[in-house]
C-alpha cells in the first residue's frame, strides 16, 4: 500500500466506515438464506463465506470494475461502460438489485454532499440510462474525493467484509468477538488480493455458486430481515 498522508487517512476512515450512510446495512448477499437453509451455522462457516466472497467474487469482478470507474477520471462514458458490464455479469436478481440499490444510496448522499460527478451520474441512473452498480459508484466518487485507486480498493474490500460480518452478527450467527477476530484474520487475505493486480475489465469473472443460489432462494424466503 502506498503511504497515505493524514488527510487521506481521515477521508478513508470517513468514507470506509460503517457510520457513513452507504446503505450497506440492508444487505446480507446470501448470508440470510444460507443461514435459513442451515448452510451457515457457525463462525467458521461465516469466515469461509466472507473469505470466498472476497476472493471468488469481489477480487475478480467488483474490483476490476471499481478500478475501471476510478481510472475513468470522471469520464462518465467510461464509467457507464464498466457499469453495463457489471449489469450483464450480475446474474442473480437480488445480486443485481442489491448492488444497484447500494450504488443509488451512495450517489444520493454524495449528491447532497456535493461530491463532483455524483449528481451527473445520478441523473443518468434516475433516467434509467445507467444501472449504477455500487463498485462503479465507489470508483467514480472515491476518485472524485481525491482517493487513489489502491486506497479505494482497500475501502471497498473492508466495506464488503464489514457488511457481511455485520449481517452475520445481526442474524445471530456470530458474536461481536467473533466478528472482530474474523475481520482481523481476513486482513491477510485482503492484503494478498490487493497486492496483486486485478484482472483487466474484459476478463472479469466470478464464481460463488452458493451465494448465487442463496440470493435466488432469498427471493421467495418467508421472513426476511435483509434485502438480499
Amino acid at each position: 500500500m502506498t503511504m497515505t498522508n493524514g488527510r487521506t487517512l481521515l477521508a478513508m476512515l470517513q468514507h470506509g466506515d460503517s457510520f457513513f450512510p452507504s446503505g450497506a446495512v440492508s444487505f446480507s448477499w446470501g448470508i440470510e438464506a444460507l443461514g435459513a437453509d442451515g448452510k451457515i451455522v457457525k463462525a467458521a462457516d461465516v469466515e469461509r463465506f466472507v473469505a470466498h466472497q472476497l476472493r471468488g467474487r469481489w477480487a475478480s469482478s467488483d474490483r476490476p470494475v471499481l478500478c475501471a470507474a476510478h481510472a475513468a477520471g470522471g469520464d462518465l462514458e467510461c464509467v457507464f461502460a464498466a457499469d453495463q458490464l457489471m449489469e450483464a455479469n450480475s446474474l442473480a436478481y437480488e445480486q443485481r438489485e442489491g448492488s444497484k440499490r447500494m450504488g443509488a444510496a451512495l450517489l444520493n448522499i454524495h449528491g447532497r454532499l456535493g461530491t463532483s460527478g455524483a449528481k451527473d451520474y445520478q441523473a443518468r441512473v434516475r433516467a434509467g440510462e445507467a444501472p449504477g452498480h455500487v463498485a462503479v459508484i465507489q470508483g467514480l466518487l472515491w476518485r472524485a474525493l481525491g482517493l487513489d485507486m489502491d486506497s479505494a480498493c482497500h475501502m471497498a474490500a473492508h466495506g464488503l467484509s464489514v457488511g457481511l460480518l455485520g449481517a452475520a452478527l445481526r442474524l445471530g450467527l456470530i458474536g461481536h468477538v467473533d466478528s472482530q477476530a474474523i475481520l482481523g484474520r481476513l486482513h491477510k487475505s485482503m492484503d494478498e488480493i490487493l497486492r496483486t493486480a486485478p484482472p483487466p475489465l474484459g476478463e472479469l469473472h466470478a464464481y460463488a455458486p452458493a451465494a448465487d443460489i442463496a440470493m435466488m432462494r432469498h427471493e421467495t424466503q418467508d421472513s426476511r430481515l435483509f434485502s438480499n
Binding site: A81, Q84, A88, L91, A210, I213, M215
Partner: protein
C-alpha cells in the same frame, strides 16, 4: 453499448470450426439440417423427431469420437437455427476431460445463433473433469428477441487414480447477446478443482457437481419463467439450487450444486422439462441415452 461489448469480448474463434450445423424450417413445418460440416473429432447421429409438440422439432446427438477432451485440443463449433427452426443438440453421454500433465490446456469455442421464432436447445451432458484437466470454454449466443435458447453447462470431477487429485483449471464463459451485438448477460468463471469441490460458501458440505441452465426467452415475463424453474427444482433431491431472472428481462436461469452427477443431471432435466413445457405447451419426449 458497444464499448461494454468490446470490453467483454471473448477470445477469437479458431478460423475453421470442426462442426458447423444449420437448422432450417421446411415449408411443411419440420426442421431439417440444411448445412452440415462435421469433422474429427465430432460425429453426429441422424436427426430424430422425438417430440410431437412442438411439431417438427429435430433432435441431434453430437459426440466426440476421440473419447474425450485431450491436452492441446482446440475445438470449435457453430450451431445455427434459422427463423422458425426447432432443434435440440445434445450428447449421448458425459464428456471426459482428461489429465493434462504439462501446459497445454484444451479449449472449446462455440457459437450459437437463433433466428426469429426459433427454438434451439443445447444440452450437453456434464463434463467429467479428471485430475490435472485444464479446459477453457466459450459459448457465445446471438438470439433474436423472439427466439428461445435453452442452454446447460455442467461439470463434475472424477478422481480417476483415487489419489485426491483435482482438476487444474476450468475457465468457462457463456455470453448472451442480441444479433446486433447488444450484450444481455454473461457468466464467466475461472476455477480449480479445490474451489469446485470444497467450498460451499458456508458449511463444508461437498457438492462436487455444479450446473447452470439458462433459458433465453421473452415469450413470458422473466419472473414467470423463474417461478417455473424454481418449482421444478423444488422436487429434486441431493441439490442446493435456485432460480432467478436474467439481466435485461431476457429470460431466467438456474444454478445447481449437487452431491453427485446423478442428482445434477436430474435437476438439469427437471428444469429443462419445465422450461420446455412453458415455452411449447408440452413436456419433451424421453431422450434415449
Amino acid at each position: 453499448m458497444s464499448q461494454a461489448n468490446n470490453l467483454a469480448e471473448s477470445a477469437p474463434l479458431a478460423v475453421q470450426p470442426q462442426a458447423e450445423l444449420v437448422f432450417t424450417r421446411a415449408p411443411d413445418g419440420h426442421t431439417f439440417i440444411s448445412h452440415q460440416r462435421v469433422g474429427y473429432p465430432f460425429h453426429i447421429t441422424r436427426p430424430f423427431y422425438l417430440d410431437k409438440v412442438p411439431q417438427g422439432m429435430l433432435t441431434l446427438y453430437l459426440q466426440s469420437v476421440s473419447g474425450g477432451i485431450y491436452r492441446g485440443e482446440a475445438l470449435a463449433l457453430t450451431l445455427e437455427a434459422e427463423a422458425g427452426a426447432l432443434a435440440q443438440v445434445t450428447t449421448q453421454s458425459a464428456t471426459i476431460v482428461h489429465r493434462m500433465k504439462t501446459d497445454g490446456a484444451a479449449r472449446q469455442d462455440m457459437v450459437i445463433r437463433a433466428g426469429e421464432g426459433a427454438l434451439l436447445e443445447y444440452l450437453p451432458d456434464p463434463l467429467i473433469l479428471f485430475p490435472g484437466a485444464q479446459f477453457e470454454t466459450t459459448l457465445r449466443v446471438a438470439a433474436e428477441p423472439s427466439a428461445t435458447v435453452i442452454l446447460s453447462d455442467a461439470f463434475t470431477q472424477h478422481d480417476s487414480d483415487e489419489a485426491g487429485g483435482r482438476f487444474a483449471r476450468l475457465a468457462a464463459e457463456t455470453r448472451i447477446e442480441r444479433p446486433d451485438g447488444t450484450l444481455l448477460a454473461f457468466d464467466r468463471f475461472d476455477i480449480d478443482g479445490d474451489v469446485a469441490e470444497a467450498h460451499l460458501d458456508g458449511k463444508a458440505e461437498a457438492y462436487p457437481a455444479h450446473g447452470t441452465l439458462m433459458v433465453v426467452h421473452t415469450g413470458c415475463s422473466a419472473e414467470e419463467m423463474a417461478a417455473v424453474l424454481r418449482d421444478a427444482l423444488g422436487s429434486c433431491q441431493g441439490i442446493y439450487a435456485g432460480a432467478s431472472t436474467l439481466p435485461q428481462e431476457s429470460g431466467a436461469w438456474v444454478r445447481i450444486l449437487a452431491k453427485d452427477g446423478l442428482a445434477l443431471r436430474a435437476a438439469i432435466k427437471a428444469s429443462w422439462t419445465a422450461a420446455r413445457l412453458k415455452v411449447s405447451g408440452a413436456e419433451p419426449a424421453k431422450r434415449p441415452k
